[in-house]
């Protein structure tokens, strides 16, 4: 049997197929039609059972004859599979960020989500990268080259953007500003971790974890090592595929 896990996220769609190990993993942009992109991603792929997670799950699953699971459960299952010792997951996605505390058995014990606005999410960094005229893939390295620390007070994307504009106008260097922005996110995530309680080992996943600076700042803030999986974006899709294999209880 081949199990497919689809993570229909707000910014990207991720697919993992699994039999006794991961067969393949793929990532694509969500664009304007989540369903269309999901179909494209699945076309030509062999699978017997599909589980959909992510923001678009309720839209996509009925059409593609899949079952649904929340991202929280999907990340918990995916991260535990990759790192059996994992007890805390930090996910910085395109439109939300979450912190999940796992029990010894690997079930979700507590979670915190930051989803009311772009603050502390990948979108926040995207907007700021634009303002600083760097590519999103480069903003982390830019921040790592900072020489001094400035403080950004606003976590609201709109306000932070105007704060950045004022900092530019004040003659602050873009690398220093970039670091300040990363620190603002790390601090927000740090607060969420405090709410659920800190426990090792910590897995940092989602698109945000490609950002080396965020990883480093989180380690500083939490005073713990933070593990980034090899394919951090597909942890949720992997979890969904594993749930397809396990069978979703009660559904």
């Amino acid at each position: 049997m081949i199990y497919a896990g689809l993570d229909a996220g707000s910014r990207t769609i991720k697919l993992v197929t699994f039999d006794s190990a991961v067969r393949e993993a793929a990532v694509t942009e969500t664009g304007v039609s989540s369903l269309q992109r999901c179909r494209e991603l699945l076309s030509g792929k062999e699978y017997d059972k599909l589980v959909v997670t992510g923001y678009g799950r309720h839209l996509v699953a009925p059409v593609l004859q899949g079952e649904v699971i929340s991202e929280i459960t999907a990340f918990a299952v995916g991260a535990r599979y990759l790192f059996p010792e994992c007890h805390l997951i930090i996910d910085i996605g395109g439109q939300d960020s979450k912190v999940i505390l796992l029990s010894e058995k690997g079930t979700v014990q507590k979670f915190e989500m930051n989803d009311r606005c772009a603050a502390g999410t990948g979108k926040f960094l995207e907007v700021m990268a634009d303002t600083l005229e760097v590519d999103i893939s480069e903003i982390g390295n830019l921040a790592l080259s900072a020489l001094k620390s400035i403080r950004i007070n606003s976590l609201c994307t709109v306000f932070a953007e105007s704060e950045v504009v004022s900092l530019i106008a004040r003659g602050e260097k873009s690398n220093d500003i970039a670091l300040a922005l990363h620190e603002a996110i790390a601090s927000r995530i740090g607060t969420m971790v405090k709410r659920v309680g800190i426990k090792e080992k910590i897995v940092f996943a989602g698109g945000g974890s490609y950002n080396k600076c965020l990883g480093k700042l989180l380690e500083d803030k939490l005073e713990r090592n933070v593990i980034v999986p090899d394919a951090p974006q597909t942890v949720g899709a992997l979890g969904a595929a594993l749930m397809a294999k396990r069978g979703i209880k009660g559904k």
Partner: protein, 423 residues
């Protein structure tokens, strides 16, 4: 929408265009959230009829009452002792304040970072889109939060407003203050109606309101059964409608519904499967037509079996127990009963935490969803204590902060789905 209604609304100085938009929006929303439910009790037919003509039937009764010189007293809060209004021949109506629709109007005056309930209620008056507000002779406010307190001052520029002071502590001095407030309220109502509150008419009013409370208690008691015989949405609607319907008719309707539910329970029938996750909702009031949270929870396959809120148990769980005869003893009994509402405006408010834990057990819940409106500081901050207490008791909790808008529905669904998978 009948011509009679239109004429009546015009007489009540309703701003017809936005009002028509509001009425048009409500129908499909009710269809989707309520009528599409399966296996509903027949007794809900009355409520479907009431909501189907939400600004018609009942407003007409109030309007007729007005025409013959009767007074209508509008309230926003479960602290205003309705018995006194009934006793003096007035009709109390709890105003709704539960829709996004009136909020942009309110935001032209009030600060945006004010809770949705305050903005919605104020917007209804400012925009002249609620016939219940328009038909009322007096709006009675209270001091249960700072936002409301200040809003009532501004509302007073547009309508006759009287504010009762609800104390913040439960000391003997606070109780005395509240007793004085209830007595003053009696005077205000007597002046307004031109009728005296007597031991006789007050006794009748107390009995009538108590009977409705008992009927609601009966309904909630039935929700403790597994499988639950009525959906959380339907039960919530019954409570919401109780705020503005005639007390005697409403009592009769609730009891009729409960008779049906009794039969259902005897036959082992339920509205959701016996293994559906059972949820207690606790927190800020959920005013009509704010069905958002219940709809999300029940659409996810769980069932809401209780509300620890002002549109739930805080509205009816205690009766007025008049021990002695005579007006003074009755007023004292009324004051005591209302002081026993465990609102987050009090400090400390440990009793509310006890209530939540007790209800979680009695209603056999799998988890509690703590609901508070954005910028509702009392409930938002008290949620910290709720979380701590429930953690000690081993009861899972999900905290939801939201308002009346739909834009965060997806995010709330996410959290609710994850919570249901977790518990």
């Amino acid at each position: 929408m009948t011509n009679d209604n239109v004429q009546m609304w015009e007489k009540l100085d309703i701003d017809m265009k936005p009002h028509a938009m509001l009425m048009t929006a409500l129908g499909p929303m009710y269809q989707e959230i309520y009528l599409a439910q399966e296996n509903r009790p027949e007794g809900m037919g009355f409520y479907d009829m009431v909501v189907g003509d939400i600004h018609g039937i009942r407003v007409r009764e109030l309007h007729e009452h007005s025409k013959t010189g009767g007074k209508v007293v509008a309230t926003y809060c479960v602290f205003v002792p309705e018995e006194i209004v009934w006793a003096a021949g007035g009709i109390p109506v709890g105003l709704c304040a539960g829709t996004q629709f009136s909020i942009p109007i309110a935001e032209s005056v009030l600060p945006r970072n004010t809770c949705a309930l305050i903005k919605s209620s104020f917007g209804f008056k400012l925009g002249r889109i609620c016939p219940y507000v328009q038909v009322s002779d007096l709006i009675v406010g209270e001091t249960t939060c700072d936002g409301k307190k200040k809003m009532f001052e501004i509302l007073g520029l547009h309508h006759q407003v009287y504010v009762m002071e609800v104390p913040n502590k439960k000391t003997p001095a606070s109780r005395q203050l509240w007793l004085d407030e209830v007595n003053d309220f009696k005077d205000v109502i007597e002046d307004l109606t031109g009728n005296k509150v007597t031991a006789e008419n007050l006794k009748e009013a107390i009995d009538n309101v108590n009977r409705r409370r008992q009927a609601l208690k009966r309904l909630y008691h039935l929700r403790k059964v597994r499988p639950v015989p009525i959906s959380g949405k339907d039960a919530l609607l019954v409570t919401q409608v109780s705020f503005y319907d005639d007390v005697k008719r409403n009592t009769e309707m609730i009891n009729k519904l409960c008779d049906e539910l009794d039969q259902r329970v005897k036959a082992g029938g339920g509205v959701a499967p016996a293994d559906a996750k059972r949820i207690l909702v606790s927190g800020s009031p959920i005013a009509i037509p704010n069905w958002k949270l219940h709809h999300i929870i029940e659409s996810a396959g769980a069932v809401v079996v209780g509300e620890e809120s002002c549109t739930g148990t805080r509205f009816f769980s205690d009766l007025v127990e008049s021990s002695g005869d005579g007006l003074d003893a009755q007023i004292k009994a009324i004051a005591d009963r209302y002081m026993n509402i465990h609102c987050a405006c009090f400090t400390p408010n440990e009793e509310r935490l006890d209530d939540i834990v007790r209800m979680a057990k009695e209603y056999q819940v799998d988890g509690v969803v703590h609901y508070h409106l954005q910028f509702c500081h009392t409930y938002a901050t008290e949620a910290v204590q709720v979380e701590k207490r429930l953690e000690e008791e081993g009861i899972p909790l999900l905290r939801i902060e939201t308002d009346y808008g739909d834009e965060d529905t997806g995010q709330i669904k996410n959290r609710v789905d994850a919570f249901l998978e977790m518990i």
